[in-house]
Amino acid sequence: MAIHWSRPRCVLAAGTLSMAAALLAGCAGNGVGLDANGNPIGLGSSAPSSSSAPAALSADFQSIQDNIFTPICTKCHIGANAPEGLQLDQAHSYALLVGVPSAEVPTTLRVKPGDPTDSYIIQKLQNSPGIVGMQMPYGGPYLAQSTIDVVAQWISNGAPQASSTTNTIASVAHERAQPAPLEVTATMPAEGSVVTAPLVSLAIGFSHEPDTSFLNAAVRLQNITAQPVSVPLLLAQAQGNPATVLLTPVAPLGAGVYRVTVHGGDATAMTAVDGESLPADYSFTFTVEMP
């Protein structure tokens, strides 16, 4: 095909590519002034989130949150539509990870405290045989093995929510603070979300460890597609994560609209082991669709 270049067209095309070339003037950074995670050195954790500088990665949950989950995973795993119902922002990640069955392979816990090899998060990061779907982070670049090893070490340590130092500080602070009422901090599925059938397991994260003797009376699952119908449930605390309660329907949930209600506000309200109770009913609704 013959090419005829008029002068104005040539100038315009050259101008366009010049602009593109100017945009392309960047090159890889030399890392000067940045910490081990590529964030500016010297900024405290209270700095604005876009330029905060988390401490170097270590085998404790907060460090993993600051260095991996927040900067990398929450690009997708955030909000009501987070893939597989797994929200990995600071407010939800621990409650929905530790001791919670994975949505893709429900027989495997996302994080099985003490057993990184049998933890689905490690399998997904390493692209191990048996996973469903893609290796994470989706599309790469994938985490270096040394980084995955740190996550595995945290799991080997029992997957605690706080480091021993933080635990001490937190316990002292807790003794001095006024008791706070019990709250629901995370749910899976999230309010208003749509998930694919069959749904095998649900989870509710609480701000305090709930008193298990209240569970059966206070937590209710209903199919509200038409007239509300109660769905039989098994309730248990998540392994290594007593603040999260797992709801396992006796049969996986099929298509329909469902509502979970945690009773609060009176003498039979959901209550924590420290005696604090839920001040009012808490409920969330979700839809299960056929694949």
């Binding site: 270049w5 960047g26 002034g33 940045l34 081990a36 469903v132 270096a144």
Partner: protein, 365 residues
Amino acid sequence: MSKRPRLMALRLLLAMVCFAASCAYAEPYLAVQTGLKCTQCHVNPTGGGLRGAYGDVFAQTALPATHLDTGADTWTGSLNTFLRVGGDLRTEAEATEVPHSKTISQFSLEQVRTYVEAQVIPERLIVYADEQIAPGGALNREAYVLYWSPGHDWYVKAGQMYLPFGWRLQDQTALILQASGINMTTPDQGVEFGWLKGHWDGQLDVTNGTAGGPVNDSRKQFSSQLSWVESVWRVGVAANYNDKLGGSRGTYGLFGGLRTGPISWLAQGEVIEDKSQGFGLGRSAATLLEGNWLIARGNNLKITFEYLDPDRSVSNNGETRWSAVYELTPIQFVQLRTGVRYYDGIPQVDSQHTRLYFVELHGFF
């Protein structure tokens, strides 16, 4: 239609393909190489997915190094007057090297996709579905109804669709696609108005802004792009604004293409301002420059340079990626791709120095 007019139509189509010299294969560089709009070879006016009859015939005649003669039996995807089908299968062997880590090598089935187009009113009203059937469970990517104006100079599309934003590259891990978050893994639900008048090619989309997921508020995402297409060059602008719960995200881009002899160039630059939850005031930028050298028929060498500034308020944190990919299409409907992707970034982060080597087999129809 009787056999004779159909055969004549096929010959006419083949003649058009030959006249167009090296027409579209299925990637945007082909549009630049041929000076055509995406809609010339794809059912979707914004490109990708099911090829049209023109694209199918081109894939059998002008694309491969050698055309295996099938006589009068030429695949056009048509099952009958109203129904057309197509598909893509990509499987690869790859090795990933990350400093201070053991090399991972694996075979993987990248994707198997099927496309169905029902021309319920021929040339005017289309019902279309794009389904990924592997790996994992079935996953709907696109599903929409598209109404064309009588002269095909505007259309309205409604349903679930990929959003328009600059070059729709085949490589979904490209930094410009990862940075913008607008790619072929994140379709959204809404409506699209397209305008393809003369040299102009434009789209305006209003969608939920939830990447196909459910919504529980009235916020929406707005996407638009407008380009001017000449036979040897084109230039366009694109914008996307997602009014998300927890903070808005705006992405603005400039893209262009130029053909210089056997080389087709693509360029794109974009800036992102993300005020959504978890990112604070995130201001980032990404650029791409790609050259495609058509060495010989069926042989293309693709060299790509990409740059990402993940936080424009921070210095010395840039990331780059170089890719060299050789694409051989030995016969119709089969393509072999082999290449290397070379990431570079700050020395502190090993994963920013990943090396990826791959060989991919791509079968399509």
